[in-house]
Symmetry: C3
Subunit: 427 residues, 3 copies
Amino acid sequence: MSDQLRERIFQELESITLIDPHTHINPHAAASTTLADIMGYHYYTELAHSAGMPREHIEEPGISPKEKVGRLVEGLAHLDNTIQLSWLLDICREFFGFEGETIDAGNWEALYDSSQQKMAEEDWEDQVLRHSRLEKVFLTNDFDDPLEGFDTDRYIPCLRTDDLVFHLGKASTRQRLEKATGIDVGDAASVVLACGKLFDHFVRNGARACAISIPPDFSPAPVTTGTVDPLIQRLAGGDELAAEEAATVSRFVFWTLAEFCSEYKLPFDLMIGVNRAVYPSGVYQGQDLFDKRVSLIQYRELFNAFPKVTFPISVLGQTSNHELVSYAWIFPNVVTNGHWWYSNIPTYIEQDTRSRLEAVPRNKQIGYYSDMYKLEFALPKFRMYRRVLAGVLAGDFVQGRGWSESRAIQFGQQLLRGNVERIFGVN
Amino acid sequence: MSDQLRERIFQELESITLIDPHTHINPHAAASTTLADIMGYHYYTELAHSAGMPREHIEEPGISPKEKVGRLVEGLAHLDNTIQLSWLLDICREFFGFEGETIDAGNWEALYDSSQQKMAEEDWEDQVLRHSRLEKVFLTNDFDDPLEGFDTDRYIPCLRTDDLVFHLGKASTRQRLEKATGIDVGDAASVVLACGKLFDHFVRNGARACAISIPPDFSPAPVTTGTVDPLIQRLAGGDELAAEEAATVSRFVFWTLAEFCSEYKLPFDLMIGVNRAVYPSGVYQGQDLFDKRVSLIQYRELFNAFPKVTFPISVLGQTSNHELVSYAWIFPNVVTNGHWWYSNIPTYIEQDTRSRLEAVPRNKQIGYYSDMYKLEFALPKFRMYRRVLAGVLAGDFVQGRGWSESRAIQFGQQLLRGNVERIFGVN
Amino acid sequence: MSDQLRERIFQELESITLIDPHTHINPHAAASTTLADIMGYHYYTELAHSAGMPREHIEEPGISPKEKVGRLVEGLAHLDNTIQLSWLLDICREFFGFEGETIDAGNWEALYDSSQQKMAEEDWEDQVLRHSRLEKVFLTNDFDDPLEGFDTDRYIPCLRTDDLVFHLGKASTRQRLEKATGIDVGDAASVVLACGKLFDHFVRNGARACAISIPPDFSPAPVTTGTVDPLIQRLAGGDELAAEEAATVSRFVFWTLAEFCSEYKLPFDLMIGVNRAVYPSGVYQGQDLFDKRVSLIQYRELFNAFPKVTFPISVLGQTSNHELVSYAWIFPNVVTNGHWWYSNIPTYIEQDTRSRLEAVPRNKQIGYYSDMYKLEFALPKFRMYRRVLAGVLAGDFVQGRGWSESRAIQFGQQLLRGNVERIFGVN
Ligand SMILES: [Zn+2]
Ligand SMILES: [Zn+2]
Ligand SMILES: [Zn+2]
């Protein structure tokens, strides 16, 4: 395809003001204060560790932010091929005026100091949002988050439910749940009651989605009260459950959440396929991987049982994308959602985007979310996506199918913004 | 690659007269009579339904063809990105002189009326075949099809065996079998006898293939008479079988069919990987999906046991293509067959074609079949394939390996026509 | 991307002197003596057989090398599309001055004779190495190889352990082991002792790696002496083990090897995913295939237990590449290793290379190995890889990310040579 065509479309896509539909932003500290906030992102620590830096060196307790950055810089040369490092360079160039080709021993201190000065400006958070054309940002809130002290119109709450579904067996989870809802979980009915209170609290505070990440071997299914009651009672009595019993409780809680999503008209974001702590000696947040032997057929019963719930679905393994395309092609309530984690690299984004744009109705695709922990990452990550998207629109639609440029750009706008507004009910 | 080179090769491929080796054409009503025949294709109804249109709206009993088209047009805007909709536009442009960019509320009635007039022409079927350069069309015939009243030289019978293998447990299947063969199935021997009669009937009427679609969890294996006899006897006595027992019967029937394919020298088309009725509330023919966790290793014993039977193999999930390439690379009796259903979109056709052209002997590849229900679809579907194929031939062979254009085009001819002739014994 | 850019980078990559980190070269007869040595490579015999030539025709005992070549030439026309045949043409052009477009009935005898003359030159082996810019070549040695009579600086030993892990149950394996080590295997301790002797022997003779190919259903795990002792005792007593018992022995031997890799600081090459003898009627070495339903999660415990052992990993199925990229991204001891067998075709090399270059630290990628049986194959196989790599570097790095050409070329050098030196400790 012609490079100019792609570049023109890319520039148009760059001008779109965004709503980021999934992040891990802390609304009380949304922007970074030092380069350590940015380079402490697990992508850098885990890649530096993978390339040879000992975890103890990276995560030594008590080192200053500047010391931490200095140490990580020692390892960057091994990562300079990665797309993740290109995000870091993009951030430093866009926000801190960095002009080098690489961040290295010779220039990092100057960069550290100048960036710190920049981030100390009072309106830094607003500057980042404005420069990134970022209007609203979805959060990932613990179920017991009070949702207070921030602007829920800008930072949109989202009820994250991993702990409820997969860790109700822990006393700490049940204690947090009791503290948040006043309900002491002792049987199935009390779990339902507590979940209802959480949904009520979240929806009253502007939540627009419920979300969960799920291991490859989980298959949602309804569970009768009679089956689950004795298990929850044993939990409440301090027992530990066997693995299959714990899975039954997980299925019960999961199904309960889906019922509340239906009642409260909340989309239920499913992030399918992660195995936690596969590498327990890894750095913080750098321990999870996956087993590609997972199928959306495991969600067959769920999709059929909740026709009124929209399920925006992310898959961790790239080999799951074809199933996702096909399930979104058939099920009205299945929506493709972004490019998650290990699939979030241009090679796979390109393949997955091409297939989705070709075979999934255009109103059922959420193009991208940043998954960021700090605001500065939205810009380079969305830019990466927009670059790929511009190439697909230019090649497959304008050149391949004779679409006008403006028609292709409108399609891009829908993927980047329009569908987010409609599916989650924000605007 | 140069656009002109690809275009020249594409035009040469477009000039090839086709034999379509797999369709669902009804030879008694091969062409469409209204736009509803075309837009009623499950690709459109299921995508419109997936994009938000209620099934009841699409499938309301008693609505006229024109009303049905009018309703579907309401939903087309959400699908205008899909490759399936591009087929529809291609049909309307090529056959009905349509000139719009989209089919919408403002133009569909005129299109409906003009197309109806065109389709009412007495030689419409011949016109479509001629304009599509389509010479012969393989059918998909129920096992009890009398195969009468049509030209079996143009419309080539193919014995479809899903019902026999997977639904012999239904009384209705056994009744149909008795009616077709005169044999009342009561034990293994009678099943073999009945199957033999079917093969005899089909081959006498020009059948060139046996075919079946298979769920992901099926593994063919021989079954002894001693094992299956009591099961079939129980079926005949009105019993229901347990799932594993029914699977044993399926394996027995399947193996019996393979033996007759060997005896009658019929290729056995295997379409591997479909789960039926995953979404039972979906529209007609829009309910099936798949589980990608299937492997051709499940067919190891079959491929070894029947060296004289050619198995043209289609896989439903794109992630099965590499296995297919590798098994066709090793097994003399395994042939790659087209791009099936959920894999039948340019992104995947391109990847799969590139790998097949690089690693499977050229005489063991059937490039494409349309899978159409109405004749008008051959043109846009084969055109989509030919466009992709032209790109692969231009990029990987002419530019990448220095082949002459004519050599690349000859290769394309073999994939599109020559291998179909030789493998199925038609010409 | 611009064709000139890619070509310039390709030429630079072509000039790199190689160390080939995995081959099946016989150091006592490294180069070919007739075209039959080259065309007898299983890629040609199995493809010719797959395309229709009977095995008996190809492998008839007693036929002369020339007769064998003549027979294979009859079948080449069906394979002329395959990338494997392009290697053959490359060899004939580069080494024997062949100028035809195809090898056929009209020219093969002249080619045979002229090539034989060439290969008879006294320094043919050196000529091939020099012309291929090949400096060192890793071998694949049986565990009982005396490693004598060749230059272990040029031909680097590698301890291949399939027989030990998967065939210790055969009396012949235990006899070979006894002959090689003087130890009669009778219990777990003697197995450990014997393995230690093998490592000692190999390392003293310059071995730089331990290697094994593994079926898809194998999961490494530690096994206690108490568990395995009775099993090995029964083996020594002449018993046959049940499948699950044999798997326990395999796990024990495998884990023992990993422990010695740790002690002797040898990388442990894992080639994951092959099913042996799937097509037992196939030609020699043309009988193996795979089941894509394998996951690197099966190696979780191994990777955690041996942080000091580097595991260069090859995967047989292309759908395993994303897991490999992700595991190499997280685990410091997991390294991506080349493009193996059924994945070793440009379509898949391109996809896999793009994803690895984007997401795996650059010091953890071994770009390519030839897997060759005769020296003449290094040139065309590495050239194929370098062509793909040049395209990825030109497109994704120079054009996509604004890298200078020299920076991209340095990256390519590291993938092709630098990492091989460092990871295996050769230079
Ligand atoms: Zn997240
Ligand atoms: Zn079909
Ligand atoms: Zn090898």
